[in-house]
Symmetry: C2
Amino acid sequence: MTSLDDLRRMVETALERSLPASAPEPILDAMRYGLMGGGKRLRPCLTLATAEAVAMRDKTPLGDARSRALPAACALELIHSYSLVHDDLPAMDDDVLRRGRPTTHVVHGDGMAVLAGDGLLTHAFALLAEGPAPADRRIRAITVLASAAGAVGMVGGQAIDLIAAGKVKSYPATPLDAETLQDMHARKTGALLRAAATLGAILAGADAATISAIDRYATDLGLAFQIIDDVLDVESSNEALGKTVGKDAAAGKPTYPALYGLEQSKQLAADSIARAKRALASARIAGLLPDIADYTLSRTN
Amino acid sequence: MTSLDDLRRMVETALERSLPASAPEPILDAMRYGLMGGGKRLRPCLTLATAEAVAMRDKTPLGDARSRALPAACALELIHSYSLVHDDLPAMDDDVLRRGRPTTHVVHGDGMAVLAGDGLLTHAFALLAEGPAPADRRIRAITVLASAAGAVGMVGGQAIDLIAAGKVKSYPATPLDAETLQDMHARKTGALLRAAATLGAILAGADAATISAIDRYATDLGLAFQIIDDVLDVESSNEALGKTVGKDAAAGKPTYPALYGLEQSKQLAADSIARAKRALASARIAGLLPDIADYTLSRTN
């Protein structure tokens, strides 16, 4: 059986080849820098793992499921990468370090970083549209991803975050309460993780009940992911995390450890992962998805 | 028959309703500001006019052609608007005035303007995916638009522009020669105008020869549009143009009037429009498309 590392290697190779070769070299350079800087590749692995898990359960060819899901896996990582490139801009989080490297705007300049993000986002939809899955599945995948990545999902979550940080001229800074914090995370991080998993299921031709179970799995995975992110922000060193540590707390952003304490936060994350696995079991789905759940809980960066 | 003003009104009404209502209010606010600030609506009108012209020639129902093209028309305007919002940012052109109003980042702040642009771009693909046209035409429309708007097209053109202006850290400022200038315009403005026209034809079910003729029409229309833009930048007042005048020349950007003189530039634009009309005639296509060509040549803002 495929391992999580196999999936990661498959994703890296596909990402290397995913950018539009006929674009002017300088913009390709900046896009490549934002895309190929390592990273966990969690979202594309989730897409591939879900497609494989559905094919294994339904006894349909694994190779078909994989090749149909691979463009979507790349699209997910392009969108995740673009969001980091834009999020790191001085006008947003103003981060100079990401995965242990200078951020895209530090290397290429702010304007080029805006464009590189725009290029990555736009090309994600080209990849989805051109994939080998049946046209109706590709259309549905585009609809789901556009909603998850856009103003209703990720972009909307970033807007809430930006307002809380007092960086929006037209709105007064609003400190986040626990409920708004959860809504922000659900949009900013959760929506794209859910899209990553459900796209794998959609492109593999899963039925509605399976897609819904996968969505519940990914929702709890996303929650655990965010809690662990906050925990690592408290417990890690800059070096281990590859980015500036303690920044959220310093910025006065509420975090799970700040709201619930470290130990209860870890318990909340473990509970989410247990629920995620139960959702998988309810649809008789496995493959690498339980491993990804365990990894999310135990990761150190 | 429909007039160009009828099309504009249809587009305005559809745009008002096009944004995702379930997004957080602040991001919707900023997206609406970037989208609903007037403007010529040339691209969406082009999409609708092309779809109608194909339906008239092929004697297929006009209402079907219009309703199938309308989401794409809105998508085109969302993408055009996002590109202006990002282009006006301090990190790019640093413009504070657009269509006679303060630009989005002046009102909402730089970070929110980045996000508003991201939200508009992403939602464009949601609109295209959800439209009433047959799935294979929608897929093709998404492929064409993603290529025209992305690093190969518009975003790539903006990158060339940014480098020429000396605003890219990783590349030395390169003065544009006539050839690179034309390549930049073909990507930055031309690609999206061509997509606007061809999407109308694709969604109306036009054959390959017709789509190719429409593409030639739009290529020459785009060239004329750019030349007239440069001419207006020399001849107009700030007030008439609704944006800062003479900025390109002041920034040392080569313009058509600078390269060829005012009179020869106007002749080049007129020649392009004549070629555009011949391309239409070769496919026995008319409707409002010749009017749009004339308008492009005679516009004053």
